[in-house]
């Protein structure tokens, strides 16, 4: 067997928390230099290990899913492989051309035309001018924007914009492709197109793909193996079904324990996210408690819980913004608690995963897989056996109908 195309050896990455928020201004930094005693009395910034001693090998042509909860180190791993950030310890040996597909449309400029953006974006993604020229017609055809090539992309519809951006990215020809889940923006049809293209890239052209996603259906469909990260360490590496099973078990366990302390970016912390009763019967009330703390004063402008299906499809959100339209204020040491209820939960039985989106005055982000809840089927009334849950979608509709039998019209 050839040498692995990627060898990851004892890879660790340490972030100093608060680095971003301390000495934020040159003025403070200079003041700190002069006030020597002040500098020492200040508490050392807390460190977190986003990755800790991760080692595994990827063989040429493999499609590896990278799974794990938020903060498990998935994106950090891709960023190190893509040389966007440096590891603190360990090393990676990469034997091939590598490109990151971290976000469709990176480097697009609104004022420039479609034609100009193809060249610019191609160059940014690592294509040479000659390579772009060679593939130009193909890219344009794939994106179906022939008529608008000389129109600034700011006048494009969002569909055209995404198609063009994806077309450029899809025509990259690296040996190794890194894909972060932000690729999965857009509607269902577009996601399907992305997944098809990735399947083509891996199966027909024998490329190696590393794929980060919370969408277990996509991971299962595309990947042969998965690397399961947990708290920065490698919890498992092997056949995809097995890793997904272990991972879903892990989320369920965390949800059952109720109290936790999950960092949500640099400042916020989720102290509790609990759903009762567990399981909840479909159609009954589901109560929830959510507690947030922060290491520095901040204002939360946006906040909602994201409810996703077991395989990672977004089902609904629970809006937790302040009812008066003002931001939530949060000071260090304080706890912001939300007690609420989802009335007559109209969900089909099954396992649901809960995430959270927040936007505060320092940063914003999605944090997925923070808790789960289980919905049990409601007792059936009547002689019909309910259809299987997989056939019923996610929502139990309250429906009513009348039956009328209409005899065929008599014709003479």
């Amino acid at each position: 067997m050839n040498a692995p195309i990627i060898s990851i050896r004892h890879l660790s990455k340490r972030y100093k928390l608060g680095l971003t928020f301390r000495h934020d201004t040159l003025r403070d930094q200079i003041a700190a230099w002069f006030k020597r005693d002040g500098a020492t009395s200040k508490s050392e910034p807390k460190e977190i290990w986003a990755l800790r001693d991760v080692s595994f090998d990827v063989q040429e042509g493999e499609v590896i899913g990278i799974i794990g909860r938020n903060g498990a180190g998935k994106s950090t791993l891709l960023k190190i492989l893509g040389q966007i950030t440096e590891p603190t310890e360990g090393e990676v040996i990469v034997r091939g051309r590598l490109a990151s597909l971290l976000e469709v449309g990176t480097g697009f400029h609104q004022e420039l035309t479609g034609r100009e953006n193809i060249f610019l974006n191609g160059a940014i993604l690592g294509m040479s001018k000659a390579e772009i020229q060679r593939k130009f017609d193909e890219i344009v055809a794939f994106a179906e924007v022939e008529k608008f090539l000389d129109t600034p992309v700011k006048r494009y519809s969002s569909g055209m914009y995404v198609r063009l951006a994806f077309a450029v990215a899809a025509h990259l020809e690296p040996d190794i492709l890194l894909v972060d889940e932000v690729l999965a923006v857009g509607d269902a049809a577009f996601q399907a197109k992305c997944l098809d293209k990735m399947r083509e890239v891996s199966q027909q052209r024998g490329r190696t793909v590393l794929f980060v996603s919370h969408n277990m259906a996509a991971i299962q469909a595309l990947c042969g193996k998965a690397a399961h990260l947990k708290g920065g360490s490698l919890a498992g590496f092997g056949p995809v079904e097995e890793q997904i099973r272990v991972y879903l078990g892990e989320i369920k366990k965390a949800g059952a324990e109720g109290t936790l302390s999950v960092p949500l970016g640099g400042l916020l912390e989720l102290r509790k996210l609990e759903f009762t009763p567990q399981p909840v019967v479909s159609g009954e009330d589901l109560h929830f408690t959510c507690e947030l703390a922060s290491r520095e004063s901040l204002r939360l402008m946006d906040l909602h819980l994201i409810i996703m299906s077991g395989l990672g499809v977004r089902v609904a959100i629970v809006d937790l913004r302040h009812p008066e339209g003002i931001p939530h204020q949060l000071r260090p040491g304080e706890l912001l608690r939300f007690n609420g209820v989802l009335k007559n939960l109209p969900l089909v039985e099954g396992e649901y995963r809960v995430g959270l989106f927040q936007n505060n005055n320092h940063y914003y982000g999605d944090y997925l897989d923070l808790a789960t809840f289980t919905v049990a089927n409601a007792p059936t009334s009547g002689p019909n056996v309910p259809y299987k849950a997989v056939h019923r979608g996610f929502v139990e509709l309250q429906s009513k109908f009348e039956i009328e039998r209409i005899a065929p019209k008599q014709t003479t």
Binding site: A3, I5, Y15, L19, T20, H23, D24, T25, L26, R27, Q29, E60, G61, K79, I80, L81, G82, Q83, I84, T85, E86, P87, T88, E89, G90, E91, V92, I93, V94, R95, G96, R97, L98, A99, S100, L102, E103, T106, G107, H109, E111, L112, E116, F119, L120, A123, I124, L125, G126, M127, S128, K129, A130, E131, R134, E173, P174, D175, R205, G206
Partner: protein, 300 residues
């Protein structure tokens, strides 16, 4: 593997550059990613490999800038013309400055052009990394490309300014001198000064959020501190040494000499001091930039 020939390695290894591009074999693309420590030197090979991206960024900035053709070009014309006009009215007519029979407007504009090139390049490049945040957190390339391309983009405005100056000189009957041949040399020095300042301030701007307020202030003060509205021989002899620590002093004096002739020959000691300051700033800027660049994606 490698069924599709790849034209040129763009996003790849340090060792791969010397191999034949189309007889690619993955073993030739080995790259080792490990932590770097200490101060970092420039990686010229890598910069050369990313030259196309550099040119694309310059091309983008120029396109965007002159896209609204009238506004873009009008701004490039109005900025030097209006500033020259204000200086001429204020100091030329009211304060009655005059030098060696050269019309004051020509004198001002000859100093103003290199200054405005420097000031614009500094403003643009100091913001360049911040405004490329999305690129920097998503894609790998030598970060040095970003502020450098912002400095290079300023060449277009400078070229427009030179044409305006030529028109002004013809209109005032000021003769062109052989010293004009030295202009590219002094321009190169101005370029290095702008690059040095751009490297420092773009890297500082990533880490410290108040730098974006400091730069416009420096630019505003700098125009009066530098010999734009006057000739540096006006500065008392005992202060000349300190004064020449301002890197733009040597550059602007040199420009005047090229454009207005031997009567404006610069003080070469002062010029050497300015050059020395620029080179130290440039080396320091490159080292600071390279050493902090590894954390850009983490703190930006």
């Amino acid at each position: 593997m490698g069924k599709i020939p790849v034209q040129r390695p763009v996003l790849m290894s340090r060792t791969g550059i010397h191999m034949a591009d189309n007889q690619r074999n993955t073993a030739d693309y080995v790259r080792i990613i490990r932590p770097r420590h200490g101060l970092a030197a420039l990686d010229w090979r890598e910069l050369w490999r990313f030259r196309e991206l550099f040119l694309f960024l310059v091309w983008r900035d120029i396109l965007v800038r002159y896209k609204q053709a009238y506004l873009g070009i009008a701004w490039a014309v109005l900025q030097p013309v209006l500033t020259t006009l204000v200086f001429t009215i204020l100091f030329g007519y009211l304060a009655k400055f005059k030098e060696n029979g050269i019309p004051y407007s020509v004198l001002v504009m000859a100093g103003l052009l290199p200054w405005q090139f420097f000031a614009n390049a500094l403003s643009e490049s100091s913001q360049s990394l911040i405004s490329s945040e999305r690129l920097i957190t998503k894609v790998y390339f030598p970060r040095l490309i970003v502020p450098s391309s912002a400095v290079v983009t300023g060449l277009v405005d400078f070229g427009i300014g030179l044409c305006l100056l030529a028109i002004l000189m013809l209109a005032n009957g000021v003769a062109f001198t052989p010293a004009l041949l030295m202009l590219p040399l002094f321009f190169f020095v101005a370029f290095l000064a702008a690059l040095a300042a751009g490297l420092w301030f773009s890297a500082l701007n990533v880490k410290y959020r108040d730098v974006k307020y400091i730069v416009p202030f420096l630019v505003r003060i700098g125009m009066y501190v530098s010999p734009v509205g006057f000739v540096s021989t006006k500065v008392p002899e005992q202060w000349r040494f300190i004064y020449s620590m301002n890197p733009m002093v040597g550059v602007i004096d040199g420009f005047r000499w090229c454009i207005l002739g031997p009567a404006f020959e610069p003080n070469w000691t002062a010029f050497a001091i300015s050059i020395g300051v620029i080179l130290v700033m440039l080396a320091g800027g490159a080292i600071y930039f390279r050493s902090t660049e590894r954390t850009f994606a983490d703190v930006i």
